[in-house]
């Protein structure tokens, strides 16, 4: 059976089946495990906890899927499995934070951010508790698990909460930077991870990472692609292809959705001729909406949002879904070409 991207879906289905199957993998399709976010989360937190007794880690019955098991193995007294009770986990983490702990609580993004939204607002953000809510397997990365497990609304919900930092990791090295910078960052934070097997964007841990400061990964003058999370890699690949068309494309990794780097957006509006946002999220409420809130005060320029078009995703193997929703290099390139056609 051939999928939308011409890939053999039966192979995809097997390869993308469960996280448990991958828990001891050294590599997935040639990509070393150590360079994938899902595989480093627990160990990176465990490294940080070696020198910081405030760090505690919790999950809601997903220790393997999040690899927080790796933390539990190294710091068993500072790991808590709350069972399948996400709200209790998030609120209890706020209670721990009020007593001096810095809790990292991890579960699927749909349950961390969407089910847990009120606990995040009321117990973490408003009292400015340093709770780090890690939503892994965001967007449509849960594939055939279906809409209940997809999370294409979380950024919109989280970024409307005052005093909450909202950040997306593009790959494992950036996740390391985020986690290291997060420990002493004031207030609560939502950290959005993609599928966990995202391809490498940063060859090493970015030394200049700062919350609220977009990373300019390519400079250019015709178009700026502003991407976040899983779509940074696809956008870089698209920029390479567009270079073949003779187009000069700037790529911004907008890892922090809140506070947003408005200066970088304004600069893009002045220095390039069009802007395209790319996100594995509903185009309503997420990165695209956030960028347009800045652009509305700027001079008009061609603009498009690329993402999920305000619909619940089909089910299917993740790779097939990414192709179907054009959340890959082909899709970003195609949308960028349509946008660039408008200015030529």
């Amino acid at each position: 059976m051939m999928g939308a991207a011409g890939q053999d879906q039966s192979t995809l289905f097997r390869g993308d089946d469960t996280e448990l199957r991958l828990k001891d993998a050294k590599s997935v399709r040639g990509t070393p495990a150590k360079s994938m976010p899902a595989f480093i989360l627990g160990d990176e937190l465990a490294d940080l906890a070696e020198t910081d007794p405030r760090i505690v880690v919790a999950t809601a019955d997903l220790a393997n899927s999040s690899r927080t098991r790796d933390f539990a193995n190294r710091h068993p007294a500072r790991f808590i499995d709350f069972g399948i009770a996400e709200r209790n986990m998030i609120t209890a983490a706020a209670g721990m934070a009020s007593c001096g702990m810095v809790p990292y609580v991890a579960t699927f993004a749909s349950f961390a951010a969407i089910l847990g939204a009120e606990a995040i607002k009321t117990d973490c953000a408003y009292p400015r508790m340093p709770v780090r809510i890690i939503g892994h397997h965001s967007g449509i990365s849960m594939g055939f698990y279906g809409t209940s497990h997809h999370s294409t609304e979380d950024l919109g919900m989280m970024r409307s909460i005052a005093d909450l930092t909202v950040v997306c990791a593009a790959d494992a090295n950036q996740l390391r930077a985020i986690l290291r910078a997060s420990v002493d960052h004031p207030g609560a934070m939502y950290i959005r991870l993609g599928r966990g097997r995202d391809a490498e964007v940063y060859e090493e841990v970015p030394a200049d990472f700062a919350f609220g400061k977009a990373a300019k990964l390519r400079d250019g003058s015709d178009l700026t692609i502003i991407a976040t999370g899983s779509q940074v890699h696809a956008s870089l690949a698209a920029a390479d292809r567009l270079a073949g068309d003779g187009k000069s494309v700037r790529v911004l990794d907008m890892h922090t959705i809140k506070p947003l780097d408005a200066d970088a957006i304004r600069a893009a509006a002045r220095e390039t001729r069009a802007i395209l946002t790319v996100e594995e999220h509903n185009i309503v409420g997420g990165l695209g909406s956030a960028v347009v809130e800045v652009l509305v005060d700027e001079q008009r320029l061609p603009f498009r949002r690329h993402g999920i078009l305000d619909e619940f995703s089909l089910i299917g193997p993740p790779a097939a879904l990414y192709a179907h929703y054009r959340l890959d290099a082909d899709g970003v390139t195609e949308t960028a070409r349509e946008l660039l056609d408008r200015i030529n």
């Binding site: 808590i80 209890a92 209670g95 009321t122």
Partner: protein
């Protein structure tokens, strides 16, 4: 001598004094309700003896050091009773009583629900029902991890027990064997729409918490000697069953026309309603109608 024991020495443990402080809580609730033009007075009256016993005789706290790391934690999960807690904290010296004179006015730290970031002595913000036991659970877990021996207290409303998250926390507390976690249910029998057992029944509470792994006792929450003895008999923080006190109380207790009435959940009190309430509270608790019969 620790700061805490010095502080405790300043407190007066006599039953007569504590009954007087319960009266103070009710009178201050009336006064603040009038400033705000509305207040949850009846849900506060049911908890007056419990709050007086906890704060004036039991909790290990130090008003001069609200962030003392070894203090007992208290989470008012039924945050709408904060109007009765604010005067206690002022009375104990956490802040000057005059701070309450602009209760609920624009920019005041003191609203209908308590805010830990604005008010010394409030260990956690509340207002959204169903969260407090999870907060307290986290505090108790943190205490265990840090090797501290404080206890964590959570006062719950009975209507609040309809919230599912309460039972997530109850399950976890039993699972983690947090003996230092103490729940207190102000079982005042009414939620807004009616008697709890008609709106959404919460009983049998002793059986329910017992089956979740708690050590449960049920007491008269208005009988000061019983409340004091129950608190004094609590086990220390450590590994064992979390401890739950189901305190049978009367919503509106202390003002005859409010007792177990659905008409007096929240609002303002004016004219004779205010004056009658004030004089009844001044006279002290009288037997309930059911007790006279």
């Amino acid at each position: 001598m620790s700061a805490a024991s010095q502080s405790a020495d300043r407190r007066n443990f006599s039953e007569a004094h504590l009954a007087d402080r319960a009266k103070f809580i009710r009178l201050e609730t009336l006064r603040l309700t009038r400033i705000a033009g509305a207040g949850h007075y009846s849900s506060t009256f049911s908890a007056a003896e419990l709050l007086a016993a906890l704060y004036y005789a039991h909790l290990r706290i130090d008003p001069a050091n609200p962030q003392w790391e070894d203090r007992d934690r208290f989470v008012l999960s039924k945050g709408h009773a904060a109007i009765g807690l604010y005067p206690v904290l002022a009375d104990l010296g956490f802040y000057p009583p005059s701070k309450l004179d602009d209760f609920t006015r624009l920019g005041s730290a003191f609203g209908d629900h308590p805010d830990m970031k604005k008010i010394p002595g409030i260990d956690f913000s509340s207002g959204s029902l169903g969260h407090g036991l999870s907060v307290a659970l986290g505090m108790a877990l943190a205490g265990r991890m840090a090797g501290r021996d404080y206890r964590t207290y959570c006062m719950l409303g009975d209507g609040e027990l309809n919230e599912g998250q309460i039972w997530e926390a109850a399950m976890a507390a039993g699972h983690f064997k947090l003996q230092g976690l103490v729940g207190i249910v102000d079982r005042n029998q009414l939620s807004i729409d009616g008697p709890t057992e008609k709106v959404m029944s919460v009983e049998p509470l002793v059986d329910r918490f017992t089956s979740f792994g708690w050590d449960v006792r049920r007491i008269d929450g208005h009988d000061m000697p019983t409340v004091l003895a129950t608190l004094a008999a609590l086990k220390p923080a450590g590994e064992g069953k979390p401890q739950m006190i189901i305190a049978d109380t009367v919503k509106g207790r202390g003002v005859k026309y409010m007792e177990l009435s659905l008409d007096w959940h929240v609002g303002n009190l004016v004219g004779a309603d205010y004056d009658d309430a004030w004089s009844e509270i001044e006279a002290g608790l009288q037997p309930l109608e059911t007790e006279k019969a």
